[in-house]
Symmetry: C2
Subunit: 673 residues, 2 copies
């Protein structure tokens, strides 16, 4: 690449883009780790995007109608840190660049949501950003339809590399975006032909332009170092009603000795090469040095955004007070005031009716009441709508023709669904929930973990939560998935036992602001176990005494969650009849119980009695409550699964795998003997 030719063709542009490149080189050198090549390759695109198009105001990083800029190729984090510093975001200080990748700094190795204003989502695990961005774009379309163009009308810009596009989740996102005709979504493909192992052709021969076009995208191919071409492509992309992909032919680590090589992908720290690169660029030679005129130009860009924001403020002020409050409430993730009373009334009704229902069906009953109250919910399912019971009567379906529809048919795309829900939640103004079978948590783990890491209150509706699924067999029967989810930090796993706990679970999930929830729901019908109405949300305590010993002194405590609570109750009946005083503890959520104070936990799980836990999953996770918390090995037992399931009717499976009231009662008798 002839750097001199690039410099002389567009000297001003060059100097501005070079600032991104030199800051990247300096920060990576200081950290002695990181990825230099991506920011150096995409600096021209970023400069044109920010310079001519991006609607942003560094003074108001949370302005709801800003354009969203998503760095899907998150390893190139110095690109976004440089941009935020250059344009003058308050938190993006020069010191932060110097502390790149150090303990306590805002400038983590990969961009982390919540660490630094201007970072819209956590990226690094490849493919997530592009899938998030489809969620951002859906949120924008939905909110534009609801609030009008004067309040919501912005673009989502994404930079994605070969890695993002090789990850399967990208196809799920591309497919839905094309079908949904998300015209405000613009993806820049950093087409540099380099991955960590070598050139892309070592692993892929895909014509990415043809691939996007096959899913209904508007596609352009440009020289990613030609500012005029970049600008023209963005103009054309904005004008086209389809989502746009701009394939930008770039040189990774442009102008460095490692240009166009795998080495250029990583940390370029050689001091001589660094100096030579800066010289070739004609850039200031000092560490972290930026020409003051260049810095001033970058800082001036915010003025365009500030003007737009002033217009927006004026438009917002013209909304009715009620609308303003509703908008603010939904973006602040505040539940509507009516929610609590509505849930209470529903619980009372359920306690009186005592329905026998699968908890997935209970969940739909609760949603039928909640969705009309909370206009910010956006439901969906990965092609299991009738099984997950996620669609309610009032929602309508979100399509290109109906942007007010609040239900999304995600297709058979669990990972994409989860990543898109993250994007919607991060956009703000939307509370997404989405359903699949619990076993397919496996497919969406990559994005679920990021919900937890970022602390976005997405709700995962995971039905068919055990061998109770029956005939579909072990591929569809979760066994280890409760343990797997419980092992994940900052995830509320709630497995309600009946309709009333389902209502409580939804109340918890929809009032969370920084923790995602997974609601584990049964396929099979379950009796109401909470026949006595309590206004308090007992599920929020994680575990509680459902029924205490009556016949005699308490000799046993049975713990269970979800569909096994009724099994425990039946076992209790047997034991009480034999004079063995037995308490049943319903434990819908271990995380929430662990968060209670010692005193409460001790009241629920006193030392002394034998303890038997019953859950149609693996034991891992239960030892904390069986052996810990005043428990003892000699007085503890577990009734559950220690293998994969099988294909047969559910009733047969529970019998064959020994998850029955009789087995629970026998375990107690054995422990007492």
């Amino acid at each position: 690449m002839d750097i001199q030719a690039l410099r002389s063709a567009n000297p001003d542009h060059w100097a501005r883009a070079a600032a991104i490149r030199t800051l990247t080189l300096d920060a990576v050198a200081a950290a002695n780790s990181g990825h230099s090549g991506m920011p150096m390759g995409m600096a021209d695109v970023a400069t044109v995007l920010f310079g001519n198009h991006l609607r942003f105001d560094p003074k108001a990083p949370h302005w709801p109608d800003r354009d969203r800029f998503i760095l899907s190729a998150g390893h190139g984090s110095m690109l976004i840190y440089s941009l935020l510093y250059l344009t003058g975001y308050e938190q993006a200080t020069l010191q932060q660049l110097k502390d790149f990748r150090q303990w306590g700094s805002r400038t983590a190795g990969h961009p982390e949501y919540g660490h630094l204003e201007g970072v819209e989502t956590t990226t690094g695990p490849l493919g997530q950003g592009i899938a998030n961005s489809v969620g951002f774009a859906i949120a924008e379309e939905a909110l534009r339809a609801r609030w009008g163009k004067k309040i919501i009308n912005h673009h989502t810009y994404v930079m994605a590399g070969d890695g993002c596009l090789m990850e399967g989740v990208s196809q799920e996102a591309i497919g839905l975006a094309g079908m949904q005709q998300l015209g405000h979504l613009i993806v820049f493909f950093d087409n540099n032909n380099i991955t960590i192992d070598g050139t892309v052709d070592m692993a892929d021969a895909t014509d990415q332009s043809a691939r996007f076009a096959a899913s209904g995208w508007h596609v352009q191919e440009i020289d990613g170092h030609d500012p005029a071409a970049i600008d023209a492509a963005i103009v054309a992309a904005k004008a086209d009603p389809r989502p746009s992909m701009i394939s930008c032919k770039t040189h990774i680590a442009l102008g460095h000795a490692a240009q166009d090589t795998s080495k250029g992908h990583g940390a370029l720290t050689d001091a001589d090469q660094l100096r030579a690169t800066k010289e070739a660029y004609g850039a200031p030679m000092g560490d972290f040095e930026v020409d003051p005129a260049v810095k001033a130009w970058w800082e001036g860009l915010g003025q365009r955004g500030a003007a737009a924001r002033n217009e927006w403020d004026a438009a917002f002020a013209k909304l009715s007070k009620a609308k303003q409050d509703e908008f603010t409430r939904s973006f602040a993730l505040e539940a509507p005031k009516k929610l609590a009373a509505t849930i209470k009334a529903l619980k009372k009704q359920f306690a009186e009716e005592a329905p026998k229902l699968a908890t997935r069906a209970s969940s739909q009953k609760v949603l039928e009441v909640i969705n009309p109250l909370m206009s910010e919910t956006l439901g969906g399912s990965a092609d299991l709508t009738g099984s997950n019971n996620t669609k309610t009567g009032d929602l309508g379906v979100f399509t290109p023709e109906d942007r007010e529809g609040r239900y999304i048919h995600y297709g058979i795309r669990e990972h994409g669904m989860a990543a898109m829900m993250n994007g919607m939640a991060l956009h703000g103004g939307i509370r997404p929930y989405g359903g699949t079978f619990m076993c397919f948590v496996d497919y969406m783990r990559g994005a679920m973990r990021l919900s937890s890491l970022m602390g976005v209150p997405v709700v995962y509706v995971v039905s068919h939560d055990s061998i109770g699924l029956g005939e579909d067999g072990p591929t569809h029967q979760p066994v280890e998935h409760l343990a797997l989810m419980r092992a994940t930090p900052n995830l509320n796993v709630i497995r309600p036992a009946d309709t009333i706990e389902v209502a409580e679970a939804w109340e918890i999930a929809l009032t969370e602001k920084a923790t995602p929830s997974a609601l584990a729901l049964s396929r099979q019908g379950l009796p109401t176990v909470r026949t006595e109405h309590k206004t308090k949300n007992l599920t929020a305590q994680g575990a509680y005494v459902l029924k205490d010993a009556e016949a005699a002194k308490r000799q046993a405590i049975l713990m269970a969650s979800g569909s096994e609570v009724s099994v425990a109750l039946a076992a209790r009946e047997m034991l009480e009849a034999e004079g063995i005083g037995t308490r049943v503890v319903s434990m819908p959520s271990m995380e929430l119980f662990a968060a209670q104070d010692e005193k409460y936990r001790k009241r629920v799980l006193p030392g002394g009695p034998v303890r038997v836990a019953v859950e149609a999953g693996v034991r891992q996770g239960w030892d904390q409550w069986l052996l810990g918390e005043r428990g003892r090995e000699q007085k503890a037992g577990f009734v559950g699964m220690d293998s994969f399931g099988a294909s047969a009717p559910a009733k047969t499976l529970f019998e064959e795998f020994g998850i029955t009231a009789e087995a629970v009662a026998q375990k107690v008798r054995d422990l007492l003997a």
Copy 2:
């Protein structure tokens, strides 16, 4: 659809295909569950494929050079069960069809590998079959190059639906298959425009033919009910050097009242409709009844395969005895005799050299010795070759130009890699191993679980196994992943502490026949902790006493795995210096330890001393050894993670998160106080 026109156009073909359709209807009706529509839609394609092309012998279902038939749309399991029954596979009895989806039958809801001969892989979780099939096709190419065309030369045929193609993993598979030019792979796309939620256009507008073509596939579009067109397409696909996709326009539930609807996707059990459908077909009306002439035709198909198999037997007999033995050994998953001695010698050398190495680097050292011994290994990485240390000097790279290369650059495709490895292992003759960062187990969980469920001894090399990864930050630092893998039935999770345990871990992984292994390896350098040479594979015991109390009576037992074993040893030094007798137990594998007898476990973990476990992951899973196995809550502690990690140098992270020898020693002192 005019059924009468179809019948009269090809009466013989029609009757044969109708047998699949009526058996499906009858079995689903008997089970009162299942999926009728897919087998009914694809019966014509299956009939032509089996009738004119598939190289199979029902009398020799394990014949290595058979064509592989993969039903990626696994919910249509009655298609494959019907075919196996009709063609006369011994295990596929009529009774099995009658026991469809019942406890103990071979005819599970979804096809389960190992339950019924002729079922090549477990499918049902969508997208897995098509990705498996790329692994089958790679195995075929690799073995053809090694053994010659007379020994290995067959095709892999796949049936995939819209669901498989919407799942992201399919894109990963399609991309690699195209680049690798897998000419013996032929995918039939069941293009019926129906998913569970409705028509495909509710969630997707992708032109699948264009999408496959974009990745370098040969693509054809045909009427999936026209036998001549089906045959011509298969002939053309076989002739083309590229992988082929044949888009078959079909009608789901053809000829039934529910044809072309979502309802048709599911269980069609209405007796009147069933009768009407059989009448329209002109099929025998009895339950499970097949016209004897039709059955005879199906059974006759095996003769073509039997002749081919006789030819194959003759060719195989011409191989040298040594080659025959090697072929048989590799297909039987027997390790070569030399392996044990080689590992022993390597351990001795390592014990003497006592290198300080990251276990990922140790792993490469071991592989450098193993790969030349075991021609059946096929290594690879999801674009992290230099980081996972998975490539050894002798392997060469598997490409269209070099099919003898034994290393695969999978690209940034973890899920695809795992699913392809399953396919390779299932094909036989190959022992695949593949690497990625441990955090990205999240991306490949869907396929990893199936390794465990099917019992295929794939080896997952998961490096960068903790916060020891350092600056890349929490998106790349596993915290819950050891727990998550340990929760999975039939998966050996091995986290070796040093070079010697790495050698033992590989020996275990490569001698397993029915259990996959995950080797958790460190990024950071670790000292040799096993400085005394033992010929016995101590890692195979799961846990063992690494160093016992010396200074005084044993008051404490420290347990650790991987990189934290040296932390425990350092803590022991401190404690011993204070007169606190301390044992260190290295616990590389909880599963293997749990499988030891009580006596051994008690010897390693006697009751009495305080117990502290140290591992840079979450506690879940450790309670079994801390509180169980004679442990007690008051005398047990854990030093590890209870949150996500952070971005900083590794040493800083271990200090900030308190995973240090000092913290471990202090925990012991506190528990003894």
